[in-house]
Amino acid sequence: MQAKKRYLILFSAGACLILLLYFGGMQTALSRSNNRRDDRSLDGHHGSPQWHHFSGSLQPFSPWDQMETEEYNVHISPRQKRDVISGVYNGKRCRMDSCFDFSLCKTNGFKVYVYPQQKGEKMSESYQNILSSIEASRFYTSDPGQACLFVLSLDTLDRDILSPQYVHNLRTKVQNLHLWNNGKNHLIFNLYSGTWPDYTEDLGFDFGQAMLAKASIGTENFRPNFDVSIPLFGKDHRSAGEERGYLKHNSIPPYRKYMLVFKGKRYLTGIGSDTRNALYHVHNSEDVVLLTTCKHGKDWQKHKDARCDLDNAEYDKHDYREMLHNSTFCLVPRGRRLGSFRFLEALQAACVPVILSNGWEMPFSEIIHWNTAAVIGDERLLLQIPSTVRSIHQDNILSLRQQTQFLWEAYFSSVERIVLTTLEIIHDRVLQHAARSNLMWNSLPGGLYSLPQYSSYLGDFPFHYAKLGESCHDLQIDLKCASKFIHVDGHEFGSPGITTGVYRKVLF
């Protein structure tokens, strides 16, 4: 027994000694590496020395008296400067400051006028829906004298020359409108622009200082806080009301049958073909299923490549809907244009969109934080996409998925929703300081339900209490806070008896 103890002690002493040696060794290694670094910096700037922390003797970047310069006073009056701005920054450089006349909204608030429809003008069903949504909204006025915003009754949705919906002679028709005023305070809706082969974002007529509410808009052409990027929607998109998303319950763990899916056309040549032609590299036919078909257009056989037959065969084996509803992520690559129908389809199906469309200004980007509902990928990094989506944590998948449903229902589920959201965004710009905060737009129940006329203060809306810890700041009787302030105040309001009022407010 004694011997056993002794061995044990000897052993532990030995262990400590080894530990000591180990630390000692590490220490020397460390100091050696330190020395090496010092050596390197000593012999000047060969190699790549670390940045030095210079101290003392340095001047400030701007002496105080220089920062607040007086010269400004002698220059032109700011009032004149403001007038100059509107002359200089127009067309592609339009902003609210330079191309929008706020004074029209002053007396009657934010009112929208729709031009009367002219006989003999053809109009697509989608545009009809847009106009009737506006006419049914609380912003509508039939009196152009009261209006702050004007919407054309000429169908501008489809500006693809090859399309049957294309309206000809738009340029002259627009110029003849007596309220046109070079497009000032006008809003123009557009879904398609440009045509084969280059699909430019040109609308084919001079829209002057009008704002665009446009699908597939690129960041280069997008005029921030002036244009509105809208999603591409089909002609059978629900016209009004709200359509629920497909998510019915939250499964735990959140993974579905497929991790990532795509089913769509493969462009063999031309703009937008690069990414779709490379998809097969990522396809693994198990949980990453990316299917393409070459069959589209009249002469696809001409451009057909070696993989086409194989791809087409596999393409026909899978059902798009089945894939959409059973996948955690859905790939949304650009088509010929930057946006695609697939985006809204994935959103509704609670399939988290993985966007591969470089330079696409995301729909309603001014107010929606897309990182909370989608994965914004980079076409250049296509091969990393599988590892990227796999690295996303389960909890994040859960919340991404629910956010898709919230955004879908709040802003995208019908033409009316899309139009109202567009108008509310512009309304917020007109309201300026009284606009909704980003939090209101991005959390339940969404911006359309918080009327800024009522209040723009978050604390006035019970839906946000939990997110703001509002009960703490405001009601001060919440236990969670109370227990925190015990230390600060030196007295307790720990008794839970006083908390009752709170819960009626935040019950559901």
Binding site: L19, N371, H473
Partner: protein, 731 residues
């Protein structure tokens, strides 16, 4: 040192303190010496570890001072190429080489800083009048100390030149551009980041740095909407040097009550270089509204030696700046020659809500910060209406804006370090958007982050056709009672599956043929260890969202009661819905929490002896339980139900719901075992659990309710057969 104590204490606790006296003296001395040697050795190592660092750092210091003047002198030939002017159409996908950043598990970009060089023209005149400024040195030091830094130029994703362009006024534009182009990795400015706070120069003061810079990213103070390339450039604040010198007395934080301290002025204007037209308008406002406004200007007759930057005057009255800013609710930040004003930083620091009057100005870090919650932006044109606009903002909102302003300053404005790190984080978020910081992380001050709830389950989903629930029965060996429970549960219409968690490793569950025959599938899971947490494991067998946790002795619940509880949970899917209700109370005498099982008017916990909840909480309990709570529960074989109440309340911020009036859950045969004394130790243990969990959570997450859910007609005098849940009501 820590290691040593671990070593020795490990030994003693292993063999007990009686060891040493029993040893022979000779041995004892031997061992004591041995240990002292080891001890001394470790102390020496420790000392060694600390000493050299301080020596090194002093060495570094002097070395640095030398090396600034030793920085190699580079002469720029006049004919050197000049980069192109910045391309306004640049975006991350066109002008930024993302391949350099690569894929890495940390999702963090690598930033390289060029070594310091001093550039001069052919005549030997330096390209900048200040050279390296104090602020830029701070900024570069911050980056080099941060996790973003790499000294390996080949692995870098972002390059930061050591050429200081913070202030355009001190630069020679053409030569600076040539110097940039000479950088070894310049490559048309690709992936290069320039920091500039004071752009433009007289007479028209451009809003972006005038130095031609190819495709380089610009972190600029004072962008206008026309020069700012959204999603490419970063708008940064103009650093206020006062921030470093002045510490304002704490006025905010921690105690919301303090916000209500009245501020003497409503609007304050402290800038000294306001255009005379605007000053005239401000004075007109002052005439109309009197004392509520304070218009300060430069002091004309200050005695020598007083820093003029720190004083402001109004009609001969002298005020300390920036302290005076704390006395006002709103502070004017009016554009000067430039859009970006250092005053903004001072104003935020003082917790004064900035009134931004600078048309087309891109506010600092506007890509991530929600300025609507911290400032009031008013068009310059509306300056005369300023007073009316501000008066329309409710008082509570102003207080919250003040708090928000303080937080923005603390986190993003207070130092060059804060500014630099925020800039890099923003760029990092663009390159790894799926790992980006959230709106809440950027915008919620710690007080809010701490008290708010952000549950990953936030969407109120109500399934149209419900898939039913899975009952999970935890059992050890009470077979008879277990079978009765199973039989009772099987009568509940919405039961989808029954899962028995067999926690007894010494005994096999009964044969299949002995189990009660029920319609729903029944599955037995055998566990490896007898642990309470097994009841909350997210078994794959649980295919429904709703889980019913039930003990193997809860035989008194009727199928109506269970079905009703299930339907309640369907409507409020993210709460605990259960039958036995309990309460926590604050014991004023003892100064701690107390567990209460008496019949009270309130409930803050429902016990999982019988409770419905979402399967997600199983997952959280198993993998995300804070601290050592899970192990503690398993070790003590108690309080798993309290733990899950804490967990759910903490994540949802909501109280549980007690259903049905039933209050008695003890089976008749259990009451016999020595009632009272067991009961009391039980209560003490449970109270300990609450105190322990509250300390691990750092707060008391439990919420109290004073209502419960009962079926609509349950107490009414009404024919039984017309009631949906007739068999409810017994205690």
């Amino acid at each position: 040192m820590v290691r040593l104590s671990m070593c020795s204490s490990g030994k003693y606790s292993l063999r007990g303190p009686a060891l040493i006296p029993r040893m022979k003296t000779k041995h004892r001395i031997y061992y004591i010496t041995l240990f002292s040697v080891v001890l001394l050795g470790l102390i020496a190592t420790g000392m060694f570890q600390f000493w050299p660092h301080s020596i090194e750092s002093t060495a570094d210091w002097s070395l640095d001072r030398r090396s600034m003047h030793d920085a190699p002198l580079i002469q720029l030939p006049v004919s050197n190429p000049i980069p192109e002017r910045g391309d306004l159409s640049c975006r991350m996908h066109t002008c930024f080489d993302v391949y350099r950043c690569g894929y890495n598990p940390k999702n963090r970009i690598k930033v390289y800083i060029y070594p310091l060089q001093r550039f001069v023209d052919e005549g030997g005149v330096p390209i900048s009048s200040t050279g390296l400024s104090r602020e830029y040195n701070d900024l570069l030091s911050t980056i080099s100390d941060s996790e973003f830094y790499t000294d390996d130029v080949t692995r870098a994703c972002l390059f930061v030149p050591s050429i200081d362009v913070l202030n355009q006024n001190s630069l020679r534009i053409r030569e600076t551009a040539q110097a940039l182009a000479m950088l070894p990795r310049w490559d048309k400015g690709m992936n290069h980041l320039l920091f500039n706070m004071l752009p433009g120069g007289p007479p028209d003061y451009n809003t972006a740095l005038d130095v031609p810079r190819d495709r380089a990213l610009l972190a600029g103070g004072g962008f206008s909407t026309w020069t700012y390339r959204q999603g490419y450039d970063v708008s940064i604040p103009v650093y206020s040097p006062l921030s470093a010198d002045v510490e304002l007395p704490e006025r905010h934080h921690h105690r919301p009550q303090r916000f209500t301290l009245p501020r003497r002025y409503f609007i304050l204007s402290s800038q000294t270089a306001i255009h005379r037209e605007y000053r005239a308008e401000l004075e007109r406002l002052k005439e109309e509204n009197g004392e509520a406004l304070l218009l300060l200007d430069k002091c004309s007759n200050l005695s020598q030696g007083v820093a003029s930057a720190r004083k402001r005057c109004y009609k001969g009255q002298v005020f300390d700046y920036p302290q005076i800013l704390q006395e006002s609710s709103f502070c004017v930040v009016l554009r000067g020659a430039r859009l970006g004003q250092a005053t903004l930083s001072d104003v935020l620091q003082a917790g004064c809500v900035p009134i931004i009057l600078a048309d087309s100005y891109i506010l600092p870090f506007s890509e991530v910060l929600d300025w609507k919650r911290a400032s009031v932006v008013i068009p310059e044109e509306k300056l005369p209406e300023m007073y009316t606009i501000l008066k329309s903002i409710p008082h509570r909102q102003v207080e919250e804006m003040q708090r928000q302003a303080c937080w923005f300053w603390d986190a993003y404005f207070s130092s060059m370090k804060a500014i630099g790190m925020t800039t890099l984080q923003i760029i990092n978020d663009r390159i790894y958007p799926y790992a980006a910081r959230t709106y809440e992380q950027w915008n919620n001050p710690p007080v809010v982050k701490w008290s708010s709830v952000n549950s990953p389950l936030f969407l109120p989903l109500i399934p149209p056709r419900s898939p039913g629930f899975t009952a999970v029965v935890l059992t050890y060996d009470r077979i008879e009672s277990l079978f009765r429970v199973i039989t009772e549960i099987s009568k509940v219409p919405s039961l989808a599956k029954l899962l028995v968690v067999w926690n007894n490793q010494n005994k096999s569950p009964p044969e299949d043929s002995l189990w009660p025959k029920i319609a729903a599938p029944l599955k037995v899971v055998r566990t490896k260890e007898n642990k309470l947490s097994n009841r909350f494991f997210p078994y794959d067998e649980i295919e429904t969202e709703a889980v019913l946790a039930i003990d193997d002795d809860i035989i008194m619940l009727t199928s109506d009661e269970l079905q009703f509880g299930y339907e309640v949970r369907e409507r409020i899917p993210y709460r605990l819905v259960g039958y036995p209700g309990r309460l926590h109370l604050w014991d004023h005498e003892m100064g701690k929490w107390k567990y209460e099982s008496e019949w009270t008017n309130e409930v803050s916990m429902v016990l999982t002896g019988a409770a419905f909840y979402h399967k997600y909480f199983n997952y959280l309990y198993t993998y995300k339980m804070p601290g050592d709570i899970k192990n503690w529960v398993d070790a003590h074989m108690n309080c798993e139900d309290i733990a899950i109440n804490f967990l759910v309340a903490n994540i949802t911020g909501k109280a549980p719901i007690k259903v049905t009036p039933r209050k008695k859950f003890k089976c008749p045969e259990c009451t016999a075992i020595d009632g009272l004394s067991l009961d009391q130790t039980h209560m003490v243990e449970r109270s300990e659990c609450i105190n322990k969990f509250a300390s691990v959570f750092g707060t008391m997450p439990l919420k109290v309710v004073e209502h419960r859910a009962d079926p609509v007609l349950y107490k009414d005098d009404f024919p039984e057969k017309l009631k949906s849940f007739p068999n409810i009501g017994s205690l």
